[in-house]
């Protein structure tokens, strides 16, 4: 009954370099020998017992297979089972390879634009030959072109996941892969693939998962909805504009206080039910500030969209699909997105 001629993962791929490591396994940049194609190979040992493939693994790989058809979700191309040296079953997830992520992309602009794409430089020089104005001009060029495009792609990918009843729950710039040449953005680290995040060093100041976490999650809500992802999208939107995290808390309490200082401390009027959430306490009472104080260079339409992503009450927060229809994106050329 076994099929013949099917190559094992080791035979089919040539590992080029290790690019990541996580709780469950290693990530390699690899080349498929048959096609020469570069892929990301994620290897994980199954923690088997008498029951064979664990249910969690089975469910999550199935979901990744289903989502992989959208251009804005990183594509799981194949799944291969193999054996390691000790005879244990190993699972290889074969993903399309993406050369950077949004976190690195944003960081590159904090460093005076050293990695400006060459074709952008040509455009700038043809319009504005003075070297003095290049940085200023580029920032505005970025804002007007790539910001909208990246945000639209993000909303589209999230809408696709939500359309399949799937929440991400850990959206952050590190999980949004990018192709520098085409400026295409793809959502990654859904489920099992998330286990391959490069580990955060012990004394890093950045606590990735807190900065983009929705207030209802921080306050201990037990029933998540798609709105938790849209809060993260809003935080990413602001960060794309300012190049700095919108709410950089270093503990759950500090994360909440960051949010409350800008949006005002929530109460039963603006968020019915908030005081009954498990982690609710008495907090300092702040009045809401205008979002333009936090994101001064975003235009009025962008601020409106951002404000709808950052509604306190989850059911009032804009959906990904509705966000795609917002007037902020009206002048964006969507034909290739």
């Amino acid at each position: 009954m076994e099929k013949t001629g099917v190559l094992s993962a080791k035979e089919a791929f040539e590992k080029l370099e290790k690019v990541g490591e996580g709780t469950y396994g290693k990530v390699y940049r690899a080349r498929e020998k048959a096609t020469g194609k570069i892929v990301a190979l994620k290897k994980t040992r199954l923690h088997e017992d008498e029951e064979g493939v664990p249910p969690t693994t089975l469910r999550e790989v199935s979901i990744l297979r289903m989502l992989s058809r959208d251009p804005h979700v990183v594509r799981l191309m194949d799944v291969k089972q193999g054996q390691n040296k000790e005879g244990k079953t190993v699972l290889y997830l074969v993903f399309e390879y993406m050369d950077t992520d949004l976190k690195k992309f944003i960081r590159s602009f904090r460093q005076s634009g050293e990695t400006i794409p060459p074709h952008i430089i040509k455009v700038i020089l043809s319009i504005c030959p003075s070297i003095f104005n290049i940085r200023f001009f580029f920032v505005h060029l970025f804002l007007s072109i790539w910001l909208q495009s990246l945000m639209y792609q993000l909303c589209k990918g999230v809408a696709f996941c939500h359309g399949h009843g799937i929440l991400h729950r850990d959206l952050k710039p590190h999980n949004l892969l990018m192709d520098r040449k085409t400026m295409m953005l793809k959502i990654a680290d859904l489920g099992l693939a998330r286990a391959f995040t490069v580990p955060i060093k012990k004394y890093t100041h950045e606590i990735l998962t807190l900065w983009y976490r929705a207030p209802e999650v921080l306050l201990g809500a037990t029933h998540y909805s798609m709105a938790v992802d849209m809060w993260s999208v809003g935080c990413i939107f602001a960060e794309l504009v300012t190049k700095q995290a919108l709410f950089p808390g270093d503990s759950e309490l500090q994360q909440l206080l960051h949010i409350f200082r800008l949006l005002g401390t929530p109460n039963e009027d603006v968020w019915p039910g908030v005081s009954k959430l498990m982690n609710w306490h008495e907090y300092p009472q702040w009045n809401p500030q205008s979002l333009s104080t936090a994101v001064p260079s975003l235009d009025e339409l962008g601020l409106d969209l951002l404000s709808q992503m950052l509604k306190y009450e989850p059911s009032k927060r804009i959906s990904a699909k509705k966000a795609m229809e917002h007037v902020y994106f009206d002048d964006l050329d969507k034909r290739h997105l």
């Binding site: 029951e51 493939v53 664990p54 089975l58 199935s62 979901i63 929440l167 729950r169």
Partner: protein, 315 residues
């Protein structure tokens, strides 16, 4: 990542039809290919093998949620379509039945005892006991054949969406309709011919059939709601409805031991579709209006599957 496997469209109660998520677009990945049915028609032996494995799966699943055997049988059909029919070895049929059942149980997070499964499978007849490793290897083979697309999109996935289109306000009425349609879906899976249709088509046809039985006066409204859905091909629904009608009638008649007559009754669905067509004006469909179903309050309503209406509106 989190999701409700059984109710993936559950968050879209208030969305209009054209906002349907893309389950409709990918459901074809989760059913056997179109030529699967033809391959069975060529061989009575193949049909009997499938029937045997379906029967084994049903035995294993008799104490579980009916969605579980449905999913397991879906895996079976997709596997057979990919691998070809099995060799005529009873132990191979049993191993395949156990593996499909086990994978379905894992997808649905259903706890079960592997030992109980083996005992049930053998009925104490001293048949083969499979080692855990053997089952695991078979599971791996099935997973490979199905390319790990195990979150099968079944007709059950679409029922909540279609029921929302019907705009029944009373939760009890909605549940009665869902239960009726689910029963029809489970019965019809036993027959090869239903496999020609996409899960959404099966769901729509089963709901129409159930609504015709349970709510005959509201049936035309439901029919119009289904017809207006841009993701549904009306002609295909007619064909599927007819297949379901034949299967359900066969079962009914076999229970009563009545010989079927050669006279084919006029198809109810055809009549209604024809009347809908004639109502079109300049290519514009009559817009469905929300109906206000009023009913007389009645004691012990929950125990009565016959629904009393004192008022209703025609479309």
């Amino acid at each position: 990542m989190d999701f409700d496997l059984e109710n993936p469209l559950g968050n879209f109660h208030d969305l209009p039809c054209d906002a349907v998520p893309s389950l409709f677009l990918i459901e074809s990945d989760h059913i056997p290919p179109p030529n699967y049915c033809q391959s069975f028609k060529a061989s009575d032996f193949d049909i009997s093998v499938r029937r045997d494995v379906v029967s084994l799966i049903s035995q294993l699943s008799c104490t579980f949620d009916p969605v579980l055997p449905y999913l397991a049988i879906n895996y079976l059909d997709r596997f057979l379509a990919h691998q070809g029919i099995l060799q005529p070895k009873p132990w191979a049929n049993k191993l395949l039945a156990i593996s499909c059942f086990s994978l379905a149980a894992k997808m649905l997070k259903t706890e079960y005892s592997a030992t109980d499964v083996q005992v049930l499978m053998n009925h104490g007849d001293g048949g083969a006991i499979f080692e855990a490793q053997t089952i695991q290897r078979m599971e791996g083979i099935v997973l490979g054949a199905l390319q790990w697309r195990m979150r099968s999109i079944t007709p059950f996935s679409f029922i909540p969406f279609f029921v929302n289109l019907f705009r029944l306000k009373d939760p009890a009425l909605r549940q009665v309709l869902k239960d009726g349609a689910s029963e029809i879906i489970l019965k019809s899976q036993r027959e090869i011919k239903v496999l020609e249709f996409k899960p959404s088509t099966v769901a729509a046809s089963a709901l129409l059939y159930a609504s015709h039985e349970l709510f005959p006066f509201q049936y035309p409204c439901f029919l119009r709601a289904i017809s207006d859905c841009s993701y549904i091909n009306k002609e295909t629904v007619v064909q599927c409805y007819n297949v379901i009608h034949d299967i359900t009638r066969e079962e009914y008649e076999s229970v009563l031991n009545i010989n079927s007559t050669s006279d084919t009754p006029v198809n109810v669905l055809d009549e209604h579709f024809l009347s809908l067509e004639s109502e079109k004006t300049n290519g514009t469909n009559v817009v469905t209006q929300e109906q206000d179903f009023k009913r007389r309050k009645t004691t012990d309503y929950g125990n009565n599957r016959t629904v009393p209406f004192s008022h209703f509106h025609q479309c």
